[in-house]
């Protein structure tokens, strides 16, 4: 079974797909810090939220398609199909968590500044 090496950010359960069975797919495999099984991967996806699922859907598909030559192609195909199905289900389940609900976050204001004074501050700070 292909194993996806994942770089788990400490900031959130954001997942960068970097390698499968130790072979780099995108970016540097040196960044990969943890290898997890497919079930663990899906568990992480489930926990990660709607936006991430969309990204992962594309990433997992692309990763496995590009990697077919390097591992058992039938197995990779099965995983792709299964993953796609399960992720699509998750996406539907999490439709209410999509990012659009957040685009209007925060009130905005425009405030006056003191350009001359601020440039003096920036000059000092750039020399610290």
């Amino acid at each position: 079974m292909p194993k996806a090496s994942l770089f788990l950010e400490s900031a959130r359960l954001h997942i960068d797909m970097l390698s499968v069975d130790g072979k780099a797919i995108q970016g540097s495999a040196a960044k990969a810090t943890q290898t997890v099984s497919k079930d663990e991967l899906l568990h992480l996806i489930r926990k990660s939220g709607g936006e991430m699922v969309k990204t992962l859907l594309a990433e997992i598909g692309g990763m496995l398609r590009s990697h077919r030559g390097g591992t058992d192609s039938q197995e990779a195909e099965e995983m792709t199909e299964e993953s796609m199905g399960r992720i699509a289900g998750l996406m539907a389940e999490r439709a209410s968590v999509d990012g659009s609900n957040f685009k209007k976050l925060g009130d905005t204001v425009r405030e006056k500044g003191d350009k001359k004074r601020d440039e003096g501050t920036i000059d000092i700070l750039s020399r610290l």
């Binding site: 900031a11 959130r12 359960l13 957040f102 976050l105 925060g106 425009r110 920036i122």
Partner: protein
């Protein structure tokens, strides 16, 4: 003209560098525009938790509340959380952060905070755009609390958004925005020299700086939220109601003594100011430090915005003997945004430094 174009025109072109004030009560971001003005976006850092069931689902579908859904809960976010609690008249708001740091009692705090931050901060103007985010100093009244985890997690998060982040002490960033100076006879002006205090929701942060360099930084816990919580406890009213009274009609110069909430707020404000100023004195007494000129105190933060706050603060400040002469104190003209603006200026300084290198 499309809405997007209108917004772009209103916002103007941003200079490189963004400041983020990650506060217990509010998240504020600032970008400086070419004309020297600041574009500021702010969001209440609070949530109201609801069980995910048919009833809550119906309520959310019929409303335009902002919310995050997890497997078994809905979290109504920001100002909507406060509105909903006040409308329901029951329940309490939850904060992703507590005492200036990620709330250790809320297991999902990190994920929820990141959702809010990502939406408020937005995308970098270019890969590796400098970003400065505010962090509290380690508290002197809770020695077991350390900000390292909080700081590292946020830095990692902003890096993943494509920024080049650096932490900055909350009080120091206020000092950069307020730009106090020290006049010394025969030596001239020392810019960015003074004492800065930020009265936030979770903590009070203090910083003494000379020519923009921080000499000493410390914080005290139990600030604005503590006042709200204590007032709620002694009056038996929900915290959300206390906040509404505090923000809408409370005046420290003339609190309505017939109103139990205002009466309690006044008492706990006095206690907090007195405790913070005495803590400052204790910290300064630890080291022998001399300044050739008088030091200006610059104050900011939502907790300091209540009318009459500065006169109470000055009264306590003037009653104690500090190891340096205090020239005077002033409240920032933009007390709510000062930290984020100072962060933005520091980020602009980082960008200027990057270009030199």
């Amino acid at each position: 003209m499309s809405e997007q174009k209108k917004t772009e025109k209103a916002e103007g072109k941003y200079l490189p560098g963004i400041g983020v004030d990650v506060g217990t009560s509010n998240i504020v971001i600032a970008r400086q525009c070419e004309d020297g003005s600041f574009f500021v976006r702010h969001h209440r850092n609070m949530l109201f938790e609801m069980e995910a069931n048919d009833e809550s689902s119906d309520l959310l579908e019929r409303s335009d509340y902002l919310y995050i859904k997890t497997a078994d809960k809905y979290y109504i976010v920001g100002e909507d959380a406060l509105k909903l609690v006040n409308a329901l008249g029951r329940g309490e708001i939850v904060r992703p952060m507590q005492n200036g740091l990620m709330n250790p009692t809320l297991k999902k705090a990190q994920t929820l905070l990141n959702y809010i931050l990502e939406a408020v901060v937005g995308k970098p103007q270019f890969q590796g755009e400098p970003l400065r985010f505010s962090v509290p100093a380690n508290p002197i009244d809770k020695l077991e609390v350390n900000n390292l985890f909080h700081q590292t997690v946020l830095a990692q998060f902003f890096t993943n958004l494509g920024f080049s982040p650096k932490p900055i002490n909350e009080a120091l960033s206020n000092l950069y925005n307020e730009a106090p100076s020290m006049e010394v006879e025969g030596e001239g002006t020392f810019p960015l020299t003074g004492f800065s205090i930020s009265f936030g929701g979770g903590m009070t942060n203090c910083c003494l700086a000379l020519r923009g360099m921080s000499l000493v930084e410390f914080s005290s816990t139990q600030c604005g939220d503590h006042i709200d919580r204590q007032t709620a406890v002694v009056t038996g009213e929900p915290v959300a109601k206390v906040m509404r009274v505090k923000e809408k009609k409370f005046n420290l110069e003339s609190p309505d003594q017939s109103d139990r909430i205002q009466q309690a707020l006044s008492i706990y404000y006095d206690e907090m100011v007195s405790r913070v100023v005495k803590n400052m004195l204790k910290e300064f007494a630890k080291e022998s430090r001399e300044f050739a000129g008088p030091i200006e105190v610059v104050v900011c933060g939502g907790t300091a915005m209540i009318p009459g706050f500065m006169s109470r603060f000055d009264r306590v400040l003037g009653s104690l003997q500090f190891p340096f002469t205090i020239k005077g104190s002033r409240l920032s003209a933009t007390p709510f945004f000062s930290v984020s603006r100072g962060c933005a200026l520091a980020a602009r300084g980082d960008h200027k430094k990057m270009k030199k290198e």
